[in-house]
Amino acid sequence: MRRGWFVLIMGAVLACLPAAAPAAAVERAKPVGRADRLAAELRRDPVYVTDHAPRALPADAADRIRKAVARLGTPVYVAVTPTSLVERYTAQDLVPLVHDSLNRPGLYIVADPTSTAFSAVQYGGTTLPVKDAMYAATSELPSDAGAVATIERFADIALSGHAAERRENAGPRPKSKIRIELDARDRSEREARRREWGVFAAGTALSGAAVLLLLVGLRRRAATRAERARTARLEKARTKNAQARKARAEKRGKRR
């Protein structure tokens, strides 16, 4: 009897095997919605960090986020993932969709890896000032702080007990790295322009003064020469006249 059961079970298993392979292939290829995919990842690990943005995220991004949200004392589901892809879901769109799919109570955070724009919503047990901490974290950091720094700041503010004050008293946002670099570049550009004009002015002054001196010198020399020639001619004419006068006087003397 036992052998009969074994044969039956093995037969069933063997009969299922060829059928299972194509089923798996179809499963692999079947398009899964964005929220369902993220929910599946969060089901495996409550902190999911995409591999699409390694330049915007540090190597230990997942560990740092895990450490930051562990202090919040509530189940937290964090998905750091690019937003605005096929369906153009923003972080705000994705949070309720992921919650619906995962269907577990807790704090849900969806953050774009490259920016400080993120969404955090608490489902069940609203003890944390989530909204205030979210807005305060976004406004206290530069726009390119990245998801990890933003979530760390979010956890700090949520636990600080002054989330509302910090949200209200947040000053102007600090400058982003690219803004700082652009400002430095603008400064260097202005300095370069100033130096270029300086060099241009130096070149102009150098040859301008030389040309001016040359022209003035030439004019002076020409004037001096003309004066000298005129004096010489005048002298010559005087001598000639004096001789003529002498000749006339002699002539008159002879006549007498």
Binding site: H52, A56, T114, E196, L212, L215, R230
Partner: protein, 420 residues
Amino acid sequence: MNTIARVLVVAALALVAPLPAAVPAAAKEPIPVPSYAQHRLERVAAALAEDPLFVDPDMSTALDEPGRARVRAAMDSTARAIGTPVYVVIIPNKSGSESDGRDNVFLHWLHDRLGRDGLYLMASSSAWFEDEAFNVPRRLTYIDDEGIQQPADSERRFADLADRLVAWLGLARTAPSASPRIPELYSSPDPFGAEHRLRPVEPETKAPFLTGLLLAGPFAGATLYGLGLGAAAYRRRRRSPRPAAVSAAVETHSGAPTEPTVKWLRRTGRRELDRLRELLPDAAENPGRAYAVSAYDVAQILYDDAGEDPGRALDLTGAIVLARLGRAALAGKTAHPAPPCFVNPLHGPSAQQRKMQLGGTRARRRPVCSSCAGRKAPVLKVPGPDGPLPHYAVPGVWKDTGFGADGDPIPRIQEYLGVE
């Protein structure tokens, strides 16, 4: 992918198998990619090794099931037609990615990772296509012009993705033959951590300096020189009042004789020359000095030259007139003193002009002194062969110049004397 296609792909791979060994150095990563940043490349390469169509899970809704089937069929037939594998990758590639958002860089690095030549086609989250053909015997550049690289409707970017992919692969299938080659990656992305680093602007010194030295400088020098000349001329003009204005202030000699004797002329000439000579040393800065000196020179020569000769009474008259003109130039600080009275140059400077009929010639406007302006005054007469003659009737340099009635007489007199 059906079995036949796989066999064909394997056959194609076997055909091009010797080629990957020759993958050039240009396709290698020119910048170091940290190991954690290579995860995605490894993931996609591993998936492509199994299946040449890769749709990232984050973009899985970009292609639905029938769309994927159509794309696979198109990939198979294109791979068969061109004889190399065809890979289609649909994956987001934004600025934070390992390739810094550059799709061509991603494809090059993916090709390196996979180690297989073939036609790589990529669609990112913008739904634009990027392709790289590694040792593909087709010329694919013209496909870029067909308008299927980008979505028709930017609001629904992925609506026509399957159609565009199939169309693109169809065009690749029928593309003209070309010799297989490895495309070059002309620029590499910024190194990790240095994405936002900008090089400070270095000043360009040579070109501005040379422009200033060779172009602007000489121009500026010449302009300044011209302006200086202009300013000097303007100052001279400003300093020297108009001849007509000063004439009233200048001495007149309306009582001068109409028929002066040689003795009178000699005496007056000597006195006028002395007066002028005394003024010259103190007139170093006077704008009229150059004129006064010239006038003195010619007047002195005329005076010396004429002697007591009654035939040269006009020259003696000229000497007096010129000496007075020299003094008028100094007094008026001008190089253009008013011409003497034409009726009798010994009257001194003219004050106005009057129309005169002289010796049957046409009436002309002539400068006259204020005493001769309103009346028909007797004209200066000099001894001639047949009695006294009006001064303008004696041919010679004085008739030509009118004692300055027609402009500065000095150059003409210098010429007459042989000075100029």
